[in-house]
Subunit: 232 residues, 2 copies
DNA sequence: GTCTATATACGGATAGAC
DNA sequence: GTCTATCCGTATATAGAC
């Protein structure tokens, strides 16, 4: 039983870890948040982040006004500023929270496997499933990458490079062990990332396809190209 | 000699058709442009469009101020408004011009071929080469799609659907003629578009790869997946 | 045809009442 | 802890001189 994991199972696993998300954000920004009661903070931060993603994904983060955000989140303009110092600060908090969560999950899931093909599958599957659960953020993150301040932009690029290199390392490892056919690893890794990206960038186009099905499709393309016999 | 076309040749072919671009835009917007001398209009529209793409691709169209644009284009703020009625109007002119050009080129190149595999190659190659020549606009168009007004947005979606359906039709045709292996045509078309998109969205990552090489890579992935022997 | 100066509006952020 | 009212900067767009 090497691969019992489907999306339903993965999702269940994640909902448990979801609570820690806001506790971590709270701890990191405790001094800049003017509210005392932690329960209130978590409840409202969640509303604020959700509203930010909703509006920004419709019209862009820059175009979103604080007045719109206050209305959508159901918190007055003045009260919003008790949770963050500035609009850019809000962006930073959101990005830090989600990025940390994603890379932690990727690392954890890959470490469970040792064989190249299984590690590759774990990486692709985890990325895809995470992007399904957190689709609005993945979309947002891609679209707003160039609008970030210098510090945030640097972190975003590093994080992207990290996962890109990891993918390529898995391909190189597989070739070294003669499991994968010799192909340009850099281009192959980029093609995989392109297909993963497509899932969250064009979510509405995939209405009739399940994530599990899309995962199998990516693996079919990749394994055919790498000359690997299907593993299931 | 079924396929002599490489990027250098394609580029040369395009520079000829480039002049008509601005003549067409001029004709369509003649009444809203307050300048008389046509030579001046074309020269300045080109400067304005170029500057718009440059700034917008760094920080987003919304975030670009008219003052920045005037400085980058070397035209004063007041003078800019002699060429268009509003910032949104400028966006509309730019989008109409480029979109019309792209779909015309795609259609023209595909019509030259009749065999499924050659039509597929023509479509992929033309799209890729166009996105190389007009990379700033392809990037801009993708990133700003959601910021367009309702009319512009509708046109953008239609144009995207059109090329997506065309690609799928080619795949279906190839399967019907038993040239391509049976695969999910909708997902396969989407994967091809994802790889094409990656080229212009992540242009800086492909510094060391030529367009011609990337074209061969895409075809290699696609032809392997569709079970077609390489044609060259 | 192009410039500078300005009218007008709107957005981010804060003050202070409740 | 949350609200309303407001300050202040900056953006689009225009008016009118050259």
């Amino acid at each position: 039983m090497t691969e019992p994991m489907d999306y339903a199972l993965f999702k269940e696993m994640m909902t448990i870890s979801k609570e820690e998300l806001y506790l971590e954000t709270l701890a990191e920004n405790r001094e800049s948040i003017q509210i005392k009661k932690e329960e209130t903070i978590i409840k409202n931060l969640e509303k604020i982040f959700k509203a930010t993603l909703k509006i920004s994904n419709q019209k862009g983060f820059q175009a979103m006004t604080m007045r719109e955000l206050s209305q959508e989140a159901g918190i007055s303009l003045g009260a919003l500023y008790a949770y963050f110092k500035s609009k850019d600060d809000l962006l930073g908090m959101l990005q830090n929270q989600r990025r940390a969560f994603v890379s932690r999950m990727l690392e954890k899931e890959i470490e469970k496997q040792t064989q190249p093909i299984l590690r590759l599958r774990a990486m692709i599957r985890t990325h895809l499933f995470l992007s399904e659960i957190m689709q609005p953020w993945f979309y947002f993150s891609f679209m707003e990458a160039k609008n970030l301040g210098p510090k945030e932009k640097k972190k975003a690029i590093e994080s992207d490079l990290w996962s890109g290199n990891l993918l390529e390392k898995l391909l190189i490892q597989g070739q070294a062990e003669k499991v994968f056919k010799n192909r340009d690893t850099s281009l192959t890794a980029e093609a995989i990332k392109a297909m993963l990206q497509d899932w969250y960038l064009k979510r509405s186009k995939f209405r009739t396809i399940s994530v599990d099905r899309y995962f199998e499709f990516i693996m079919e393309v990749v394994e055919t190209y790498l000359g690997v016999a299907a593993t299931i």
